[in-house]
């Protein structure tokens, strides 16, 4: 960002007050939306009741990744590693070597950037069942590039054997946690924390690791989405219906391994196709779909809705979701303009 305004902003009587960045973790729930508190923490605590191998670790972010719920339920199975992410992953690997199933939480940026080498060589290469839980995935904070994990999937997709899950809502998280614990091998979960929207209970759907699902059919346009962008895709689809545009939504919460079968069957139709992701358009869902389509020999245009290949601004989350095209209204506008 090089275009910051010069000083003197304060003496201009502000007609509309500027939105505030406020908390590190801004909520992306809409006002009045149904939410569930700390779904990850509760799901992990519940899974640990029946699976004695489960342990929880964090790097000074227990309160901020909902790990504190697990800590409270199973204090003897919780390990505070301090703000030392390399230690967090190294130690999680060590615990897994002794037969335990660690869930290790930090923010996505620190998991992907600071401690990548430790995740790669100590956890992924030996194929250990360590589950990395990354808070603030994509653009879910207004703190600027230090906290915005806009390229976490791009970084992690290249790691052999790492399962990547990008859940949409509290229900996805609730179902993903026990499945990740049960599955052999390492995983990365893009955490949504705090009061997380509950969206998918309205659809005939349950999370299945490795599977995409068609949440709604539609004759004109197909959305392929993951993470919180599935919530936005569903909202935009409803709004587009008012414009007499019939939109299908395919939710693909597992990014790797990718359910190309389901997704390509939906892409390979005359409908206008979009990918929607809370991630840079480089190396994420869009390129996952594009490479699968190319492999299959589909000469199909896919329009990416995602974050630009830039370091993003600081600011209030709603402002930034508008600015970078993730908000419901910007999705609707984008579709309308593509349809001309």
């Amino acid at each position: 960002m090089t275009t910051a305004p010069a000083s003197g902003t304060a003496d201009a009587p502000s007609a509309t007050p500027k939105l505030k960045t406020s908390a590190m973790i801004a909520s992306f729930a809409d006002p009045g939306q149904k939410t569930a508190p700390a779904p990850f923490g509760h799901a992990l605590a519940a899974a640990a009741e029946t699976d004695p191998r489960i342990v929880g670790l964090t790097a000074d972010l227990g309160k901020y990744t909902d790990m504190h719920v697990f800590q409270k339920a199973h204090p003897e199975r919780f390990f505070q590693m301090g703000m030392a992410e390399q230690l967090l992953f190294g130690a999680a690997a060590g615990m897994a070597e002794t037969g335990l199933v660690p869930f290790a939480s930090t923010y996505s940026v620190f998991a992907a950037r600071r401690a990548y080498d430790f995740l790669c060589l100590d956890i992924a290469e030996p194929g250990l069942n360590v589950n990395i839980v990354g808070g603030l995935p994509g653009l879910t904070t207004g703190y600027g590039p230090s906290h915005q994990a806009t390229e976490d999937i791009a970084i992690f997709r290249g790691m052999p054997g790492l399962t990547i899950v990008d859940p949409c809502d509290s229900i996805d998280i609730e179902h993903a946690v026990p499945q990740l614990a049960a599955a052999a091998g390492p995983s990365y979960l893009r955490l949504l924390r705090g009061n997380v929207p509950t969206v998918l209970d309205e659809y005939d759907y349950t999370f299945q690791l490795g599977k995409a699902a068609i949440l709604r059919g539609g004759a004109d346009v197909v959305f392929v989405s993951s993470g919180l962008m599935t919530m936005r895709a569903l909202q935009a689809a409803e709004e587009l219906a008012v414009h007499k545009i019939d939109v299908a939504v395919v939710h693909t919460p597992t990014i790797k391994p990718f359910d190309a079968e389901t997704v390509l069957a939906e892409i390979d139709t005359p409908r206008l196709a979009f990918t929607l992701e809370n991630h840079t358009v480089v190396g994420g869902l869009f390129e996952t779909v594009a490479s699968a389509a190319t492999r299959r020999g589909l000469g199909k245009r896919v329009v990416p809705i995602g974050l630009p290949d830039e370091f993003l601004d600081a600011g209030a989350l709603p402002t930034l979701h508008d600015r970078y095209g993730l908000s419901r209204s910007s999705i609707v506008a984008r579709v309308l303009s593509e349809l001309g």
Binding site: M1, S7, G8, K18, K20, T21, L61, M81, M83, G315
Partner: protein
Amino acid sequence: MTSTTPTTAQHAYGSGPDRGIGFEERVRRVQDAAYRIRHHVLTMGEVQGQGYVGQGLGVADILAAAYADQLRYRADDPHWEERDRFLLSIGHYAIGHYAALAEAGIVPVAELETYGSDDSRLPMSGMASYTPGMEISGGSLGHGLGVAVGMALGLRLQGRDERVFNLLSDGELDEGSTWEAAMGAHHHQLGRLLALVDVNALQADGKTETVLRTEPLLDKWTAFGWFAQRVDGNDVSALLRAYDEAEVHSELTGRPSVILCDTRIGRGVPLLENREKAHFMRIEESEWQLCRDELTAGHEGANR
């Protein structure tokens, strides 16, 4: 809202320690600067209604001593080549740093009300690309000291003697990268490097001693080859003496210096000092004026 905010300093800053005025007078100047910095912190805190107000108040004396006494800089030319470098690695402490930059005259006081708002030059997490006087973008903790090592090496190689300060937090001592940099600074004998550690005994999940014990700090830094001092970071006289002592030791090639500053979260505002310590503090709308009143009363009481 700014009615009780005191005015800015009467004398110019940025020439380094003014030995012509006597130690007591220097202490008084720094105390006055710290008082204004604390008011600025409250001004910014109220804009968000919550946040890192406790840290900003706690670190105000350390910042005041740096900007009102120690550092060489030109307020109207933040990129002046011969400036001492002040690196904030703790991005969330930006609220304190902006307050100090306002006291220094580098950021206009009126602009503080844009703190953490859309299109502001003063984002919640400090970044060099946004704010004049910010040397680095912090926020991902554990970067500052490594960059400081490089700056000190780079300046020395080019025959320059500017000093490099890095303000870091006790939480940053959890990161291996901080200790890599500490060894690097000693190995390369970066005597013009000064690390300031705000030891407020707190981090995100709670008290430092419950998250990751870092003590004994003085022994650790000394063992790493640094000229280490530990002071009450809210005692301006003690702070200035430590800064002066570090300056005496600041040969171009020699031991790097660290001042471990034990500080009190919310310092200067008893309401906040006595509240349960929180990394991210919520303050009610009705409490802000009370905070300002307590701060003013405390400062005037001390000056009587």
